[in-house]
């Protein structure tokens, strides 16, 4: 199992899309912070991830069948978690600009990490539903954005 996950992670790292996703996430969040300031950044990050993570997963996950179920999902979760974590320094600075500290930044990371795990599962589920990669990607993106919208609406209501 461990070896299979490593193997999958190795395959993900070989994909250029993974590095692009890392840089895109950090660059977009940096740009948003410099342009709009710290206040709306958490919600904006979820929208960015709702768009970016399904594309990343669709591009970097292999399609060949694996003997052990769940291996690919686990590897995808780990890889996408790293993409999310890459913007943590930006989010920490945003929280510090808003007067909050490290603990608040760590708590704020949780919804993004939950979303990344959800997207990993969603992309693989959509792949099972439809063999076309593009349709799977679009389906996963729409579902992820719906989840993000629900989360933001819930946050606004609170």
């Amino acid at each position: 199992m461990n070896t299979l996950v490593r193997r999958e992670l190795q395959l993900i790292a070989r994909e250029r899309a993974f590095g692009i996703a890392l840089l895109a996430h950090v660059s977009i969040m940096t740009g948003l912070l410099l342009a709009w300031g710290p206040d709306p950044l958490r919600s904006m990050q979820l929208v960015v991830l709702g768009l970016l993570l399904p594309w990343t997963a669709a591009r970097v996950l292999a399609t060949r069948p694996l003997p052990v179920p769940g291996v690919r999902a686990l590897a995808a979760m780990l890889a996408l978690a790293l993409v999310v974590s890459a913007a943590f320094p930006v989010m920490l600075l945003a929280d510090r600009m808003a007067g909050a500290g490290l603990a608040h930044a760590l708590r704020g990371e949780l919804p993004a990490q939950i979303l990344s795990a959800g997207v990993a599962v969603l992309v693989l589920l959509w792949r099972r539903l439809h063999s076309d990669r593009v349709i799977g990607w679009i389906g996963a993106t729409v579902t992820a954005l719906l989840l993000v919208a629900l989360r933001i609406a819930g946050g606004l209501q609170r």
Binding site: R6, L9, Q10, I12, A13, R14, R16, F18, G19, I20, L22, L23, V26, S27, T30, L33, L34, G37, P38, L82, S85, A86, F88, P89, V90, L92, L93, R96, M97, A98, G99, A100, G101, L102
Partner: protein, 418 residues
């Protein structure tokens, strides 16, 4: 007179009554006046236990809080100043220890209208050492020879000079704007820029280290950890920046103190709570967006501004106080007046009243003097120059403080009689 006006109230809480006795009196000659400073003199006697807490004085909506430490057995006196347009005929003084009120005194006042002519008596000492003690008076009747201490003489001289110059209607130079604070994003942009470049370098590593996923993932984790550390540390050792426009006023026959008025902003380099202190014992800070509306003073009597916020947050405030800083020395010889720069810096953009020959470059270098015969034209003739820097220093408990801005130094000359 002070004794007659002394309003003494006993402590409210029986338990505290054994430990502390609070007495207070307020107002010169027991008088309070709208828009004028009201002195409140408080004595705390610690009988059996050391007292450490906050002394709070309230007059209508105005409130000041001063940290106090009184070791037992001893008695200490404190002087607080309040000012409001919405006056009441009573001042409340409270002592709080560990967040709980332990003593309270209500001091009655006689209110004089803002437009009335107030002739107030100062019958015997101790003589107040701040000009603000006399602010409610239009005229003073001093007992005997008046004060003997230089501080009290200075206080009365400054009060008289202010009244002579027209008080709030006195001449003042046009004031420049306070320098704008930096955009908060600018303070964090170096860390963001370096981090984004590091992630871009990672992308190249991913492209080149194909087949060595452990190297790529380890490098990513290291870069994220380093970026997080830099984001956490950003600004923590940087200085609070105070940007200001100040006015330092000297008066003919106004004693040795200079009246200081500062409009300023403080910008904080990191998130947290800040306690900014102005180095004037005879002054006050009025914070526009401080934590609360009360004027605060530390245990040494220096005015403080308590604020909290994030990286790049800004507080606006004003400081009114006095200082020993002096830019001019003015001597009169018959009808001639000589104005010399006695500061250590060159005074810029100097303007003189009619009758003086201003230097062609409008500068007055250290030691340089200008002579002239002021004409009987102005009610309050003034000499004005400008210098870089602040006449009052600022400090903060955990951070260095840098100041940016300029000071208009003003000398109010005695008006020439017609």
């Amino acid at each position: 007179m002070f004794a007659r006006l002394l309003a003494i109230a006993l402590v409210l809480l029986p338990a505290a009554a054994d430990a502390a006795v609070l007495t207070a009196n307020a107002g010169l000659d027991g008088v309070g006046r709208p828009g004028r400073w009201l002195p409140v003199r408080v004595a705390i006697e610690a009988r059996s236990e050391d007292i450490s807490g906050d002394l709070i004085a309230e007059w209508g909506p105005a409130r000041v809080r001063r940290a106090v430490i009184v070791p037992a057995p001893s008695r200490r006196e404190f002087e607080l100043y309040l000012r409001t347009g919405d006056v009441r005929d009573v001042v409340t003084v409270r002592l709080e220890q560990h967040g709980h009120e332990t003593s309270r005194v209500a001091v009655p006042l006689r209110i004089v209208g803002a437009d009335d002519h107030a002739v107030l008596s100062v019958r015997h000492g101790p003589w107040p050492a701040s000009w603000r003690s006399y602010d409610a008076a239009d005229e003073l009747v001093l007992d005997g020879d008046g004060p003997s201490s230089p501080e009290a003489k200075d206080a009365i001289a400054l009060w008289r000079a202010l009244r002579r110059a027209g008080d709030i209607d006195r001449s003042l130079p046009s004031s420049d704007a306070v320098p704008a604070p930096s955009a908060p994003a600018r303070l964090v942009s170096p860390v963001l820029l370096f981090y984004t470049l590091a992630v871009a370098a990672l992308m190249l590593l991913f492209a080149r280290a194909r087949g060595r996923a452990s190297v790529s993932y380890s490098a990513t984790i290291i870069v994220v950890a380093a970026g997080s550390t830099a984001a956490w540390a950003s600004g923590r050792s940087s200085a609070v920046v105070v940007r200001h426009q100040s006015i330092a006023e000297q008066f003919d026959d106004g004693g040795s103190r200079t009246l200081i008025t500062i409009r300023a902003t403080a910008q904080y380099p990191t998130q947290g709570r800040f306690l900014l202190r102005a180095s004037t014992e005879d002054g006050a800070i009025d914070g526009a967006n401080a934590i609360d509306d009360e004027g605060r003073f530390d245990s040494e009597g220096f005015p403080t501004l308590v604020s909290e916020g994030g990286i790049g947050a800004t507080s606006s405030f004003t400081v009114e106080g006095t200082s020993t800083f002096r830019a001019f020395e003015v001597t009169h010889d018959g009808s001639r007046t000589r104005i010399a720069n006695v500061s250590a810096v060159t005074l810029e953009r100097c303007e003189f009243p009619p009758g003086f020959q201003a230097p062609p470059d409008t500068r007055l270098r250290p030691g340089q003097a200008v002579e002239g015969e002021p004409r009987a034209a102005d009610v309050d003739p003034i000499v004005t120059c400008r210098l870089a820097g602040s006449p009052i220093e600022f400090s903060e408990a955990h951070h260095a403080v840098t100041t940016e801005g300029a000071t208009a130094v003003v000398y109010h000359l005695r008006p020439v009689q017609q």
